[in-house]
């Protein structure tokens, strides 16, 4: 059977991504909205099985927006950015623009940033991390340039003393000393500044506010993800997490065997799943869409194929989906099957979402 995995169809084809790929997979955002119902175009048909039961998932995803994307998202930006950073840049009217302009530039320079990119943030935490990343890059890039300029001038400086013989201990010139002291001082200042910024950004990672809308347990296995929705009507899925857009979701991370690492770059930084330990990660998605992630800690032979998808749904849809899942007790059998799929289909990446969500 030839079907295309969901991430092929979505998430590619941004304005900032002019490469070959985007032409192959470019799907107009508006068309996508109706795609599931109308089965319009081969790509969309291929995706159909996945969402046959949820025809109204918004197919519009983060990658498929046009250049209006950045303007569309500047509301409430301030709350998502560490205060200190914010204060520094308060006058900049548009946070998303700040975070994304260099991203767009980078994307232009290097092709598409893709469906699993830390530079294409779509959640509170990932936004803040991207901002921090670009600040660091800018500052440190400048430091590198200054150092290289210093080296260049050191080499090309006009010598007043051509053919001078080697000297055991020449008198140190005053200019050199001053320059040295200045460089040292600025190193200390820059590093302290960056450390403070980093501490501030750290709050985003370590925040422990109560009251997430949904709590989900994710259990890592070689080489698949077991996802358990807690609560009275708990149920399980595999390799796919559905979350409501706009509300915080807590993910409890534990492992059934070795160490894995849960990482959805567009939503949040990664966190390990460690035997004997339970870690908690909060994610939140801005927009409906599918966000891909992948195990980030080497966990054995098929580590490369341990992908996971986060599907962000409008809250109402999410509730409908959850009710439907919860209703009949889901047999565990499908999980075992899932495992087999992984074991057997070693070389076919990410044994599609569709296999188990049917």
């Amino acid at each position: 059977m030839h079907f295309r995995r969901p991430y092929e169809t979505w998430n590619f084809g941004t304005a900032a991504c002019p490469g070959l790929l985007s032409q192959l997979w470019r799907v107009d955002a508006a068309k996508q909205k109706n795609a599931a119902d109308q089965a319009e175009g081969e790509e969309c048909r291929n995706v159909e099985p996945v969402f046959a039961e949820n025809p109204d998932i918004a197919f519009q995803t983060h990658g498929s927006a046009s250049s209006t994307l950045y303007e569309a998202h500047n509301t409430e930006r301030d709350r998502r950015v560490p205060d200190l950073v914010f204060r520094l840049f308060r006058r900049a009217s548009n946070w998303r623009a700040l975070a994304s302009l260099p991203a767009a530039a980078g994307a232009l320079a290097s092709g598409c940033t893709g469906v699993q990119s830390a530079l294409d943030p779509h959640g509170e935490q990932a936004d803040a991390l991207a901002v921090l990343f670009w600040i660091f890059t800018a500052v440190l890039g400048l430091v590198w340039l200054v150092t290289m300029a210093g080296l260049f001038f050191a080499l090309t400086r006009r010598r007043d003393s051509r053919g001078e013989p080697a000297q055991a201990r020449p008198a140190v010139k005053r200019q050199v000393r001053i320059a040295f002291a200045a460089m040292l001082a600025s190193t200390v200042i820059i590093l302290s500044g960056l450390t403070v910024l980093s501490f501030d950004g750290q709050r985003m990672v370590f925040r422990d506010e109560a009251g997430a809308a949904v709590t989900i347990s994710v259990i890592g296995h070689q080489w698949w993800w077991q996802v358990r929705y807690e609560g009275n009507n708990g149920f399980e899925t595999a390799n796919e997490i559905r979350i409501p857009v706009g509300s915080a979701v807590d993910i409890k991370l534990t492992t059934g065997d070795v160490i894995h690492s849960f990482w959805i770059p567009s939503l949040a930084g990664k966190l390990d799943l460690i035997p004997g330990k339970s870690n908690e990660l909060r994610i939140q998605a801005d927009k409906p869409g599918v966000y891909r992630g992948q195990c980030a800690e080497f966990c054995g032979q098929q580590h490369a194929h341990m992908a996971i998808f986060v599907v962000a749904l409008e809250p109402s849809e999410f509730e409908r989906w959850r009710a439907k899942q919860a209703a009949p007790a889901r047999p565990m059998a499908h999980l075992t099957k899932q495992q087999n799929v992984f074991a057997s289909a070693a070389s076919s990446p990410s044994p599609a979402l569709s296999e188990h969500s049917r």
């Binding site: 893709g114 921090l132 080697a166 055991a168 200390v188 302290s192 930084g269 195990c295 580590h303 490369a304």
Partner: protein
């Protein structure tokens, strides 16, 4: 032991003319011919060359692994190698590069050069030195021999548990891996002790602490780091092998153990390890910058202090490899701050070198050109390290290709580029012939372009979401282009090493004759002939400044009074380097080789049965007794 006997043999160097002295000393200190002679030698120069050649062979082997990996990753969904083999490849590549190339190559240069630089006739504990080389060689042969026999570790160069435990990784791969660590660390510890003692007790008279060449200071700090870091990894690797072999439960949470214990122990060694590999690079840079700027390095005191600071700080950073394991916030903050702090002494060193070039008159020969490549690459790698030090940023880029890019920038930029520079720089001392300059410059062009084309795109790949240690990736991820670029660069980069190999072989045969001091350098190794005599110096030099060969005046002071027909060294005081006593230096012996062999058999046996330790120990003990059997009487008669 009568006075008479002593006196009869007591020809002192002051009694002889230059010609005869040289001949007699080289007979005393020489290495015998024949297989036994070769295996018994204790000449630090011969052992240093063996170390270096072995390390280069491992570099090439690791490089071939890397090329195969890059061929696999060049295209998405590729089937050039399968998952199993790929995992073995990156494990062998990382392990070989870190343990069998990175650490030993630094030791190699130290073993060869330090005694020459401090003006003595042999390294301290020369038999231990021979032993350490054989242990290292056997460890490397064991790992690669097992690889050839399809016993292959495949859990990465830091073998995280529980993946490396028996139930997830059956077979003997990780056991060989763990035992190889034990081998190479025994070797590194031995060399470090020799270096510390040589530097502190065998310096030429007058070489006070503030006249020690920066190269020597750097290797001293390097050795202390090894002495404090290696025990952690030997402990860890022994625990791992016990976990696998006799079922201990150090890392099993169900039995009260903790998998994070492994990570703490490993990285408590693993981070200093990075500096262990990088510091020899800075040692080469200090020597080369000084020589080619015709100036001693600017800011001797700040340089030495930053070296010492790096030594201490390198032990306070290990947790930054564990930022995503779910640390408490305050702990994470502490290790962010300490990781940022180590950038300061590194920065100081960079500024000092640039200031030296600024003040002096740089001569752009191949060694200096490679050092300039070092600045370009290493500074970039250091700065991406500052990014990784930030916990929030690390949560995104940890364990991605961004990190792969970062550590190749520091390891290759910080160690391999200076190393190539060092090869061009000291090759004439070792062989008596200069390497070809034109080929050297071509090599630089290849290496510099190849390196950046390979590793710069990896930063972007990591940010675009590509995790490290994946044997393939789906085409739809859009990583194909950058990966193809990286693979192309890797071929160029690898070719640059083949060019160097050719240049070395060709130049060793027919390069231009070098003379004693072809670069007009200032340190004592250039006062010896090229290649140096077995005794290094006919007469022990007396040092009156930090740049002895740049002192004005033609007369070089020497000290006299060492015996000519026995291996005698001058031992001096720690700070002032005042002559203390004459000390006998051990003669060649086959026992270190046999001891290393016995140790190797016991270690390898212990992979299969714990009883090997029991049965191996007495054998090793017997060999050691033979090694240390006192022979004073024979020698003095």
């Amino acid at each position: 032991m009568s006075q008479a006997v002593e006196e009869r043999h007591e020809t002192r160097d002051t009694d002889l003319g230059d010609e005869e002295l040289r001949a007699r000393l080289s007979k005393t200190w020489g290495t015998a011919r024949g297989l036994i002679g070769i295996l018994s030698t204790v000449d630090h120069k011969i052992i240093g060359i063996r170390y270096a050649v072995t390390a280069f062979v491992f570099l090439l082997a690791g490089g071939i692994m890397a090329i195969i990996m890059r061929l696999q990753l060049a295209r998405p969904d590729s089937h050039f190698v399968d998952a199993e083999l790929y995992n073995q490849l990156f494990t062998m590549h990382g392990t070989t590069m870190m343990f069998l190339f990175g650490v030993p190559v630094g030791e190699a240069f130290a073993v060869y050069l330090l005694p020459l630089m401090v003006g003595t006739r042999n390294i301290a504990f020369p038999r231990l030195n021979a032993f350490s080389y054989y242990v290292y060689l056997f460890g490397g042969l064991m790992l690669w021999g097992a690889f050839a026999l399809s016993i292959r570790p495949d859990v990465g160069w830091f073998s995280y548990v529980p993946l490396a435990n028996l139930n997830f990784t059956p077979g003997k791969g990780p056991d060989y891996w763990a035992q190889m660590i034990t081998f190479t660390e025994v070797a590194a510890l031995a060399v470090s002790v020799e270096i510390v003692v040589t530097v502190l007790k065998q310096r030429a008279p007058g070489m006070t602490l503030d006249r020690i060449p920066l190269f020597v200071w750097t290797m001293l700090v390097h050795s202390f780091i090894i002495i404090f870091a290696m025990p952690a990894i030997m402990l860890a690797s022994s625990m791992l092998i016990m976990e696998r072999l006799v079922g201990t439960q150090f890392f099993n949470p169900d039995a009260g153990g903790d998998p994070l214990l492994w990570q703490h122990l490993f990285w408590f060694f693993g981070h200093p390890e990075v500096y262990i590999i990088f510091l020899p690079g800075t040692a080469f840079v200090s020597a080369i910058v000084a020589t080619f700027s015709r100036r001693p390095v600017f800011g001797y005191l700040p340089m030495v202090l930053s070296l010492i600071a790096i030594g201490f700080l390198s032990f306070g950073l290990w947790v930054h490899h564990m930022f995503v394991t779910g640390l408490p916030e305050i702990g994470a903050a502490f290790f962010t701050a300490s990781s940022m702090a180590i950038a300061i002494p590194n920065g100081v060193q960079i500024f000092c070198w640039i200031a030296t070039l600024w003040d002096g008159k740089p001569v752009l020969k191949t060694p200096l050109i490679f050092v300039l490549g070092f600045f370009f690459i290493f500074v970039a790698g250091g700065l991406s390290g500052v990014m990784l030090a930030s916990v929030p940023i690390d949560t995104q880029v940890h364990d991605t290709y961004f990190v792969v890019a970062h550590f190749h920038y520091v390891l290759i930029g910080g160690t391999v580029f200076p190393l190539v520079a060092a090869v061009y720089y000291w090759f004439p001392k070792v062989t008596g012939r200069l390497m070809d300059e034109r080929l050297g410059k071509w090599q630089f062009v290849l290496a510099f372009t190849g390196f950046n084309v390979t590793f710069f795109p990896m930063h972007l790949l990591g940010l675009h979401g590509m995790p490290r240690r994946v044997y393939t990736y789906p085409a739809e991820m859009g990583w194909g282009g950058l990966n193809l670029l990286a693979s192309t660069g890797a071929l160029l980069f690898f070719a640059s090493f083949l060019l160097m190999l050719y240049n070395m072989i060709a130049s060793a045969r027919s390069g231009a004759l070098a003379g004693d001091n072809p670069w007009g350098a200032d340190t004592l190794e250039w006062a010896t002939s090229s290649p140096p005599q077995p005794q290094n110096f006919d007469r022990i030099p007396c040092v009156t400044s930090g740049s002895p060969l740049w002192d004005k005046g033609d007369d070089k002071a020497v000290v006299g009074g060492l015996k000519v027909d026995e291996r005698e060294l001058l031992v001096t005081s720690v700070t002032e380097a005042r002559p203390d006593i004459r000390e006998e230096s051990p003669a060649p012996s086959i026992w270190p080789f046999l001891a290393a062999f016995a140790t190797a058999v016991a270690f390898i046996g212990s992979i299969y049965t714990p009883w090997a330790v029991t049965w191996g120990s007495p054998v090793v003990a017997i060999v050691l007794v033979a090694w240390f059997w006192p022979k004073t009487i024979e020698e003095n008669v």
